[in-house]
Symmetry: C2
Subunit: 416 residues, 2 copies
């Protein structure tokens, strides 16, 4: 018998050098938010103060009640919980959602390990390999990650920075619908755009869902973060969408508890939930301690959110003011979440962001931003844009904006 | 324009009734361990005492040090951790693994949300939709769940109860290898079999991996649970397997911390790890509090494991003794984990297990077991078998075995 052909090297050998990584494993995108980390580490080693505006990790303390709940736990055997999560927690969530105009029962919910797992389960239950999901772009980069992981195809529809990332028109979206289209995914309020969809835009979403029989997967983890007295409208509250609406949620941003990894998947569609529940059973249960914290977080007083809102409004106004005052910069005012997308007078924001860390400082300060290419399927669409998260206080933002302003002036590849 | 054809109903309607669930979402298996839960609940409502031998949830207290660590946490902002998990935890794990003959660095590890996520990431990085993974059966039912979720195909190879679930022969395994085969998945010690593979069996695994260029995914979460002075050998410790061996691990069973959902994915194969890392980045990070508990658990004194081992040995000996003394029952003696598979004189263990809950009690007691059909790809192969987890103390096991013994005597569909 001749020796085996090595799938890696292509040679016939007795012992193969290396087994294969899957195509999807190769296609998995690197995080655009985290990929500049080595340059930031280098900048810090050089003694620079790096202001991190690249990642949605708020500096707001988590609610004291939630953190205290863990200090007083009485767990002796850290056992599996229900695959859908604590029933006590889900029952309390019924009230929380009801206050936000979302009327669901504890049976309509699965507690997940972060919004991430809710997304992965939703895609698993809706999309087969090769199926298509339409997403307005720029979009949260990990949507592409989860779609790639499940073998599905993201079909982007561009929303423009000039319009403040308005929902693309009915006809633009409809022109992308094929027999393989299964769902439309919306982030509202939007990461990375900060866009809060209007009732009119959501009416259009509803029309598309019902007309074309599509699921609407609504990522509403920034629900509490709306400004200028605008109110968030949930896809779950739209009339006649019981079979079509799927809610992705998380405590990460709401309570500044990103590390809890407690999210939620909810829908009134019973066959969807029954399928999602089998994905949930396969991974057994969400983490126990973090559910204790999340359940306690529900007691957080309204004053917490008011304070947070005042703080973020101040930061947003300051950041947007500074950005738009810079020569050649344009940044639409976000009405939700805590991100903004800025158009910079540079050819390639990947290079500019790296340069800011590698080759620049202003009085010892520099800024880490997320180049926007990773938020677009065709990364060239974001080549002049960056995402900034206003997760630092105004004093830090001032130093960061001073550095960015000078950086843009002296950047050797600045566009005229 | 005519109205849209509704994909669910097939009719032309203005508003469609319902969007579709994916084929994989429909194919996701229900948990064989949890599917009898409604009958158990009913039995309890009828006042019966149900002895739960169906699920691998130990009754052993989690290490006090790990539980205390949470009581003294000083987390103010519950932030994202590194996508690969706390570096402090990974560095300590280097020592833990080294004691078990597994020589890996902190860079060879990704802390995952349970062994479940480690499995999902490993399959994602190795298998494309349609690719094949060979698994000796009976196997942990959720392997099928994760393979289905990732669109891959499980190719089972039967290990027989008569042989004590020995690894199938080289030629049997090789006869199943096709151009689509990417990996062999082993659970060692085995769930549901309790089988601890010998060095000879592992040498065969190594030969197959190197000859056919396959990944070996080794689920070794029961490493500490070996009996009769037998020692566990890790696939990671086999010579020349650096590029082929992938380790799945978890704190769930080791420290009786199933609810922590802290697992580990490890390999010396850099391209595998770099791909897995992108899956890890997409879901951001494992839960923070549970990592604190898992890191503290590493300080658990050896006495804890010795006590646990003594306890499980006692339970195993009692359980196996009782089972094999029952007329028509055969149960090979497991050398690892805390499960055994028993062959019963019944035609359909699904029905028998349901009947035990629904229609039987012995002095108010009954037993919940896991019918073994769900541990086989062709469920008929497990029709006469059940899995029992010896996660109760000997006193409870006695009452449970008394009930099972009488149940088997009076079961109307008992085989002669």
């Amino acid at each position: 018998m001749i020796p085996t052909r090595c799938a890696s090297s292509g040679f016939f050998v007795e012992i193969c050098a290396m087994p294969h990584i899957s195509q999807r494993g190769q296609a998995m995108p690197a995080s655009p938010i985290r990929k500049l980390v080595p340059f930031a580490e280098m900048a810090e080693q050089q003694g620079k103060k790096v202001h991190y505006l690249n990642i949605g990790q708020p500096d707001i303390p988590s609610p004291a009640g939630a953190m205290d709940a863990l200090r007083h736990h009485d767990v002796k055997i850290l056992a599996y919980s229900h695959s859908a999560g604590f029933i006590s927690y889900r029952k309390k969530l019924v009230d929380y959602y009801s206050k936000h105009g979302i009327h669901i029962t504890a049976q309509d919910m699965i507690v997940t390990t972060g919004g991430s797992e809710a997304l992965a389960m939703a895609m698993g239950a809706i999309l087969d390999p090769g199926d298509e999901i339409i997403i307005p772009e720029p979009y949260y980069a990990n949507y592409l990650g989860f779609a790639t992981a499940s073998g599905a195809v993201v079909i982007p529809v561009v929303s423009s920075i000039e319009s403040g990332f308005e929902l693309p028109s009915m006809s633009e979206i409809e022109s992308l619908i094929t027999p393989k289209t299964r769902a439309l995914l919306l982030c509202n309020p939007g990461n990375p755009t900060g866009k809060l969809y209007t009732k009119k835009e959501l009416a259009q979403v509803r029309k598309i869902a019902l007309k074309h029989d599509l699921f609407i997967i609504a990522d509403e983890v920034y629900r509490e973060f709306t400004y200028d007295r605008l109110k968030h409208t949930s896809v779950m509250s739209l009339e006649g969408m019981e079979e079509h609406a799927v809610l992705i949620d998380s405590v990460s941003k709401r309570y500044s508890m990103c590390g809890a990894r407690i999210g939620l998947l909810a829908s009134k569609n019973e066959s969807f939930m029954s399928s999602a529940m089998r994905f949930a059973q396969a991974r057994l249960s969400p983490p126990t301690f973090e559910q204790i914290a999340a359940e306690a977080a529900l007691e957080t007083p309204d004053a917490y959110f008011k304070e947070v809102n005042v703080e973020y409004t101040k930061r947003r106004d300051y950041l947007i003011g500074r950005l738009n005052a810079m020569d050649g910069v344009f940044c639409p005012k976000p009405s939700g979440a805590f991100y903004c997308m800025a158009q910079l007078p540079v050819e390639n924001s990947d290079h500019f962001c790296q340069w800011m860390l590698e080759s620049f400082d202003h009085e010892g300060n520099t800024v880490m931003m997320a180049p926007a290419g990773g938020f677009y399927t065709d990364s060239s669409l974001g080549a002049q844009q960056v995402r900034l998260a206003y997760v630092l206080d105004v004093q830090d933002l001032k130093v960061a904006m001073d550095a960015l302003e000078v950086g843009l002036q002296v950047y050797p590849y600045r566009l005229a």
